[in-house]
Homo-oligomer: 223 residues x 2
């Protein structure tokens, strides 16, 4: 089995991404980052999901992005929007988050001699974050292949984003077919510590609409 790093937030998308990597027979090393997010319940969920889906290991790296601020997800003084669609990139955007997460994955991949990183970004039913787009993923992969000793020595890195062009409903159908119990996952930006969802933030809205469109019973625990 080839080793892979899987970025695992504990949400719906990254869980499906892990299931896909497992289905492709990768030995999965899951990485979560405790970056000061208000929805810390996702970290607990990630640990349970990694175990349930047969990952080799799960690590939580501590990195305080709240010290930079600039996001409703790390700054308690900025409210999480609950009014539905807005134009432009919402305040829940965390500056350079995926770049930081992928950089950490890149470091770990090199140490484990892994050539594969999985990330559950999605550019269809998503919040409009710039670092979820295909052109961004391609640019990161190109950069990564110039960045490391492994790449210079010929071990080309591949950045897998298997969900990037799927709708939320398609992601859910794929995950159900792979046997995922989505009750384990936490998407809500302001989930309570025991994982109950608000039901009204962007993440909840996209998730709810996905279950509805896929005609799958929504197992989310709303408060």
């Amino acid at each position: 089995m080839k080793p892979a790093i899987v970025l695992l937030s504990g949400g719906l998308d990254s869980t499906t991404c892990l299931a896909i990597a497992r289905r492709e027979d990768y030995d999965c090393h899951c990485l979560s980052v405790d970056y000061g997010q208000r929805h810390r319940a996702e970290l607990t969920a990630a640990a349970q999901i990694a175990a349930a889906l047969g990952a080799r290991e799960h690590r939580i790296v501590k990195l305080d992005l709240a010290q930079f601020g600039g996001s409703a997800l790390t700054d308690q003084s900025i409210a999480v929007p609950t009014d539905g669609a807005v134009s432009g990139i919402p305040v829940t955007y965390v500056p350079a988050r995926n770049t930081i997460l992928l950089s950490l994955a890149l470091a770990w991949a090199e140490v484990l001699a892994s050539r594969d990183i999985f990330v559950g970004v999605n550019a269809v039913d998503y919040s409009g974050y710039p670092d979820c787009r295909p052109e961004y993923i391609a640019a990161f992969e190109a950069m990564a292949n110039l960045a490391t000793k492994a790449a210079v020595e010929g071990a080309k890195l591949r950045l897998h984003a298997p969900l990037i062009s799927l709708s939320k409903a398609e992601i859910l159908r794929r995950g159900i077919a792979l046997g995922i119990d989505y009750a384990m996952t936490v998407s809500c930006y302001q989930a309570s510590d025991d994982g109950h969802a608000c039901g009204v933030c962007d993440a909840c809205r996209l998730r709810r609409e996905g279950f509805s469109a896929a005609q799958i019973i929504d197992p989310t625990r709303y408060r």
Copy 2:
């Protein structure tokens, strides 16, 4: 004055880079990372240098890269080489270090509405690290300009690497002309806690040869 993020390790190159950014009239926000490096004296040096060179502020972000391992700089069980030139990339290479440092700089830049990041990488008298080469810097800049809300909204980011094609002697001459007291800087990979250098590791060797080639008295405190 325009705000800039300056990656500041506390060594010779990043200090010169900061002096250049200050000379170009940037309001400098310096970033160091406490990543578990054995030469922690560089962090103390960085704080002194930031103050001496008139930076606006200096932040040390804590991120434990030692938990990934894979480098003599973070793993005490791997010795720092002291035998001079070797072929290939040495064991002091830290997997994906510059990518991680630049990602953090990118996050902070976005929050401060800065379009400029300075990094003191050098591809002439250097240790052969892949993430110090011009093609890597160009690829990171291209990725960064797809990664952020700021870039998507038109604020193009520029990654400045003013030392990249200079020899160590040229860097030193430039820095002396800018008034740097290099006694403040710590380059040694195994510097003592009070900043005394071993004189025999790659970083010391490159530094020593630079002073010699530039015909500048070496103010390094060797032990």
